[in-house]
Symmetry: C2
C-alpha cells in the first residue's frame, strides 16, 4: 500500500523577519540552483528523513546551512501543498517564520531585506506564503511577546516600545507603556546591566519566559 | 538530487468536532487496518499525489470516504512530523479540524463521540494533535464566528447563543447577546423562515459570509 503511492515532495520554507527602520522586513535569499536559479525567494530546502528529527529541525538546519541564521524564535505558520506550486512535482511545504534582530543577519549570504508588505513576484507560491505570514503577524504580534524576539536577548524598554510601535503603527506613550508591560509581568530587569548605547545608561531587560506569551488585550 | 532522498510519508489527520449536550466533542473512529487496528483514532489517510489537488482536498476526501462526513468548515491546524510518530516510518501529517452539527454525523461508520478534553491514550501522536486543537479552539472560538459552524446553515439566535456559551463556559444574557451579535453584522435573518422546533416559532438566521469572521473582542 505505501509503496504504491507516489510520495509527494516535502520541503520547508522559512520567512526570516526582522525590524529595520521601524518597519517589518523579510530577508529574501538569491537561489543558487534550479528551479528559479538567481531569483530572490524564501529560504527553503528538502526535509531529510535520514537527518532531520522533525520538520522544525529541518527548518532550523536549512536556515543555518543556507542563510547562516540562528533565529531567536521559529514558529510554524502553515503548510502549503499541491501539484502546481513546485515545477519538480506534487509538493507540500511546511512554512515557518523566524524572528531575530536585524543586526544578527550575516552579510555574506546573498540576503536582501525587503519590506514585508512590498515583497511580490516571488517564485513558487512564496507570495501567498508571505501574505499569510503578514496576516498572522498582524493578528498575533500586538497580543503577545512576539515583537520582543526581534530584539537581542537583552534589550531596553525604549527598544521594546519601538518594536510594539512598529506593530501597532502608532506611537505609544512611554509611561503608559511601562505601566502596562509591568502589569503583564512578561519582562524582568537584569540586575546591574545597563545599555551604553545611549547618552544616559538605560536599564536592560529580558523576557521572563523563553517562549511566546499571549495577552488577552493589546499593549 | 530528488531521487536520492528518502521521501517522508505524507498524511492528513482530521479532528471532527461537534457540540453535544453543551460540550465540545471529537468524533473518533475505530481503525480498520494496521497499524493500531481496532483502536479509536482521528480520521486519517495518505495524501495521494495522483488524486488530491492539495492537502486540504485530501482531508476532505479522507473525511468523506472513511467517515461519511462533509463538514461545514475545514481548517488547517498545523503539521506534526518526525521519525517516531508513525511505525511505518518518518512521516508528516497535516492536521485539520472539521466543524459540523452533531446531527449530521453518520451513524454507521464506527464513530464515537468523546468530550474533547477527555480523549486520551490515542495511537500515533493523536493525543498531542488533540491537545493543540483544543488549545486553538479555546483561543479562537470566542473571538470569531467559528461556533456558528457547529450549527446547521440556518439556525436560531438561541442555538447560536448556546454554542457561544459552551465556548465561554458561562451563561450569556439573551438581550445583550442579541445586541452584540447585531453590532458585529456577521449574521442575517432569513426572510420568512422560522424554526418549528420550539413551541413559539423562532426567526432563522444564517452567516453573512461563507468563511470565518474574526472579532476584535469576545462576545
Amino acid at each position: 500500500m505505501i509503496e504504491d503511492l507516489i510520495r509527494p515532495i516535502l520541503t520547508v520554507d522559512v520567512i526570516p523577519l526582522v525590524l529595520k527602520d521601524g518597519c517589518m522586513h523579510v530577508a529574501l535569499q538569491r537561489r543558487d540552483k534550479a528551479p528559479y536559479a538567481n531569483e530572490m525567494a524564501l529560504v527553503g530546502g528538502y526535509v531529510r528523513a535520514d537527518e532531520d528529527e522533525s520538520a522544525t529541525a529541518a527548518a532550523l538546519r536549512v536556515l543555518r546551512e543556507k542563510a547562516g541564521i540562528t533565529p531567536r524564535l521559529l514558529e510554524q505558520l502553515m503548510t502549503f501543498s499541491g501539484a502546481g506550486r513546485d515545477p519538480r512535482g506534487w509538493s507540500a511545504s511546511i512554512a515557518y517564520y523566524a524572528l531575530q534582530p536585524a543586526e544578527s543577519l550575516p552579510t555574506d549570504r546573498n540576503l536582501m531585506l525587503t519590506p514585508l508588505d512590498q515583497a511580490r513576484g516571488l517564485p513558487f507560491d512564496h507570495d501567498a506564503i508571505l501574505a499569510k505570514a503578514a496576516d498572522r503577524w498582524r493578528r498575533r504580534a500586538a497580543y503577545s511577546t512576539l515583537p520582543a524576539f526581534l530584539l537581542p536577548p537583552h534589550f531596553t524598554l525604549s527598544a521594546l516600545r519601538a518594536a510594539y510601535e512598529s506593530v501597532l503603527g502608532r506611537a505609544l506613550n512611554d509611561s503608559a507603556f511601562r505601566r502596562k508591560i509591568d502589569e503583564l509581568r512578561v519582562i524582568q530587569p537584569i540586575a546591574g546591566a545597563s545599555s551604553k548605547a545611549t547618552a544616559r545608561p538605560a536599564q536592560l531587560y529580558r523576557l521572563s519566559h523563553d517562549g511566546v506569551t499571549e495577552f488577552d488585550r493589546t499593549l
